[in-house]
Every structure is written in structure tokens, then in C-alpha cells.
Symmetry: C2
Subunit: 273 residues, 2 copies
């Protein structure tokens, strides 16, 4: 099960906003057993958006999630870009219009042209309610890909993901992830590299990645391990064995492994419940 | 002058690391007059890296900047991916090898296979010194595109950008950017949309974007304006006029504009010196 994330907004391309939406989504999807293969950021430009979605569809991920560009302003054109990419007309979605109307009625506000625009979606799209904002999200199926268009405001994006997408994804995935971290001091990353390669050969389904870190001017290496498996206890067993093997190798060569979480208690982090 | 940023690393695709490198680069490039058109994140996977670079080259940006994957471990394969994308062999670069050798000699360390790997670059690449780390960066020209491969460790990436790329870019660009922000309270974003559209028509070279914000539970809208121009005072004049026109329109309709920076003093932010 694979996913691509497409983040839309000029503010991301000028460095005004850091793309925390993509990392939030990537972390949530990973824990649900989905492999995020690519994250793409494009500006508020119709041909950029539509060609980016078309390229993504050609790689046939199970999911595409877009963020941004659902609001009322002239440059909020994600749904138009999606319609172009899919070769479908952009139509006024009655269900979405009722969602928008309801929001503004509650606030005692009129339904202006800019607000009605938020209910224009590619033909065949299913509007998804936005529990904390005014712009509905949208879901549309294209071939074997489910496309979700979410707002760019983080709390709206997160709320819609939690209420809609995470349920869809959990229903499809049966995978659990087991992850852990080792902390190594006094050894250089380049010295660890051949040892990591050996563990990687012994445990080919274990993902292992080292990250050089500095805290309070003292360098250390964080080594991240993860395994996906249908059976959660099996995932934990494999990841634990791989980490123990690397610990053994490092101690054999350098005698210096520090784990910032004890190998027994509190060693696990982020196991999917 | 356009640029694409390609961020390489599984840690970005699992949401473990937020892509601050891309936003840092995007901000710096924007201030140097370069339009960042796309940011792509791919994992530590040879075919993903090489196809992503090839796709980017086909869009003919002036610059491609990659970050990550230059280190000593088995999954640091950016330069191999770059070689595949360019159809060039990966060769041991003697100048890069001397850079790596010098670093480890100073530390009294041997030149292992994993360390030598950091000096293997696509044929024709120019190694760029890394003032704060061990892995050299690389620059290579392909058609009309300059490709820079930078490390993923932020302080190394920033140092190499500051010492090498920013000089290259400044030499090519003559553009200055003028930017400013307006802060509007008591008016909804969807009510501002038609007014922004009118100003956008009057000042077609001005980029205008509204961002809904909440601080201390009070909602407000930030409106960002920017203009690029060879002549800095002309850029300032245009952006200021556009902001004044929008202020006038909002006050005409709603009587409620708050600027968090006075229109005269301290109104400007981020002018390129």
C-alpha cells in the first residue's frame, strides 16, 4: 500500500511556510502501514497542479493526498487542477454546497460567489465534511487510486484525516510497524556503515538508517530500525533481534554503545496499538 | 531563473524529520531572485532518485539542488542516482578523495572503504568543499541546468550553500524582491477574496496571498505581497501601491484594517540588501 503526498501552495515554494503537513501525514500513514513513496510541492498554478497529479497517477499509488488550495481565494485552484488532471468537468457539488451554506448560515453570513466556489468539485467527487473549517475536502477514485484533497490549514487537514482517511486506510491495511532507536556515541557514522550493512544482510526486511546528531556540542549517532508485519509481535521480535545484533557488532568493534532507552523498559517507541 | 529542490531520505517519507532544508533553501533562493518551482522528496532508492532527477531535468530549470544521501552508509546513494540519471559513470574523483583524506587525517582516522565512497561522483562533477563535515558536495552541469548535490545535515547544507551556490546564483540574477504583510482582523478570508482579485488585476506583477491565522484564539488574516524587479526602489514602489490599494478597498467595504507594521516605519520586511 503506497501513497504520494502533493502539497500545493506558493508559500511553501518561497520558504515562508515549512511543510509540516507533509511530515504529519507521512508519520500517520507510516503508522497505518502505508509506504509514502513521494512528496511533491507545487505552487498555486493550474498546469503545475494538474501535471503533478497526472504524473503521480501514472506511478499508480494506492492513495494520493493533496493539501492546500481549497479555500475561497482566486489562487485556491486545487479542485480545478484535479478536474483537469482527471479530464472531468468542474461542477457545483450540491452536497458540498449544503455543507458550505450550513457553515455560513450558522455565522449569519451570505453565500457569496467566493464561498460557492469552495463547493465546485470534479464530477464524481465525494465531498468530505470539514469539522473545523468552511472548505469541504473531496475524495475521488481514479483507476486503482483513491485521491483525497484536504485543506492546507493544519488543524482542518488533521481533523479530516482523522475522521475520514485514517478509517479508510485502516480498513485496507493489516500491517503493523515496530520501530526502535539506538544511540551510539564515540563512533563515527562512517565506521558504523559496514556493520549496519552486515545487519541489513542478515535482516533484509528491517529498515535501518543512521542519523548523525549533535546535542550540547557532543556528537552522537541515532540508528533507527523499523519492520512491517501483519503480526505485531513478530514485527517487534525481528526489529529487536536486528538491533541486538548491531549492538553486539558495535560493542565487539568499539566497545561503546549507549541506548537512550533501556533495552527492556521503554525501549519501544511508536508501536501501532 | 528557476530552481527545483530534490530532498532525498527515507526519514522524510516516514515523517521522522520535517523538511526544513527545503524551506531554508526556498527562502534563500527566493531572496536571490530565483523562483523555486517544485520541491520533491524521494527515498533512498536508486531508481526513485534517478527518475526524479531525470523528470526534473526534463522541465529545464536553471538549477537543481539535491539534499541528503552523500554520507558513508550503504543507503547514501544520491551521487550514484545522479550518475544514472545523467548516463555517466560513477568514478573516484581525485580532488574529492583529497578532501575526504584531509578530513580523516586531521582526526587521525584511516581512509576506509565507506569513507572513500564519499569521493565517488559522476564523471565530470566538480567537488565542493564541506567546511563543517566530511562528505564533499558536488556540482555538475547538464545542458542548461546546474545541478548541486548537498549533504542532508542542515549545518553542512547551509554552509556549502552560503559559500558556493549563493555566489553562483547572485552572479546570474539581477533581481531584487520587495515583500510586505498586511494584517486584517474582523473580515473573513472569503470576503477578502473578491477585493484581492481586483488588486491582482490592477497589479498583475504583484504576488498576493492571504493566510488565515489564529493567535490567542482570535482569528486574523495575513496578506502577503511580493514583487520582483531589477530596480529595488521600483519593486518597493509597486508592492506598496498594491498594498495601499487593497487597504483602501477593505476599509471602503468593512472599515477594518489593522497593519501589524506601520505603513511608514518598519513596514518592510526581508528586502534584499
Amino acid at each position: 500500500m503506497t501513497c504520494e503526498i502533493i502539497s500545493i501552495g506558493n508559500e511553501l515554494l518561497i520558504g515562508k511556510v515549512v511543510n509540516t503537513n507533509a511530515s504529519w501525514l507521512a508519520e500517520r500513514l507510516t503508522r497505518l502501514g502505508v509506504a509514502v513513496k513521494r512528496i511533491t510541492v507545487v505552487g498555486d498554478n493550474l498546469s503545475e497542479i494538474s501535471s503533478c497529479i497526472r504524473e503521480s497517477l501514472s506511478r499508480k499509488p494506492r492513495y494520493i493526498i493533496t493539501t492546500g488550495g481549497l479555500g475561497p481565494t482566486y489562487d485556491d485552484i486545487t479542485l480545478e487542477g484535479l478536474a483537469v488532471a482527471l479530464g472531468k468537468p468542474l461542477v457545483l457539488n450540491q452536497e458540498a454546497l449544503e455543507m458550505v451554506r450550513g457553515k455560513y448560515e450558522k455565522m449569519g453570513e451570505e453565500l457569496t460567489e467566493s464561498r460557492i466556489k469552495m463547493a465546485k468539485m470534479p464530477e464524481g467527487a465525494e465531498p468530505l465534511p470539514n469539522p473545523v473549517g468552511t472548505a469541504p475536502a473531496a475524495k475521488i477514485v481514479s483507476g486503482g487510486t483513491l485521491i483525497y484533497a484536504l485543506p492546507g490549514v493544519p488543524r482542518e487537514m488533521e481533523a479530516i484525516f482523522n475522521e475520514t482517511i485514517s478509517r479508510d486506510v485502516s480498513g485496507e491495511s493489516g500491517l503493523k510497524v515496530a520501530e526502535l532507536y539506538l544511540r551510539v556515541t564515540g563512533v563515527k557514522e562512517s565506521s558504523l556503515a559496514p556493520l549496519i550493512s552486515r545487519v541489513k544482510e542478515l535482516y533484509p526486511n528491517t529498515y535501518i538508517k543512521s542519523h548523525p546528531k549533535v546535542s550540547e556540542e557532543k556528537p552522537w549517532i541515532e540508528i533507527y530500525f523499523s519492520v512491517f508485519h501483519k503480526d505485531e509481535s513478530e514485527a517487534k521480535r525481528i526489529v529487536s533481534e536486528a538491533a541486538k545484533e548491531l549492538t553486539r557488532l558495535i560493542e565487539e568493534h568499539y566497545g561503546k554503545v549507549v541506548s537512550n532507552r533501556g533495552m527492556n523498559k521503554g525501549f519501544w517507541k511508536g508501536i501501532v496499538e
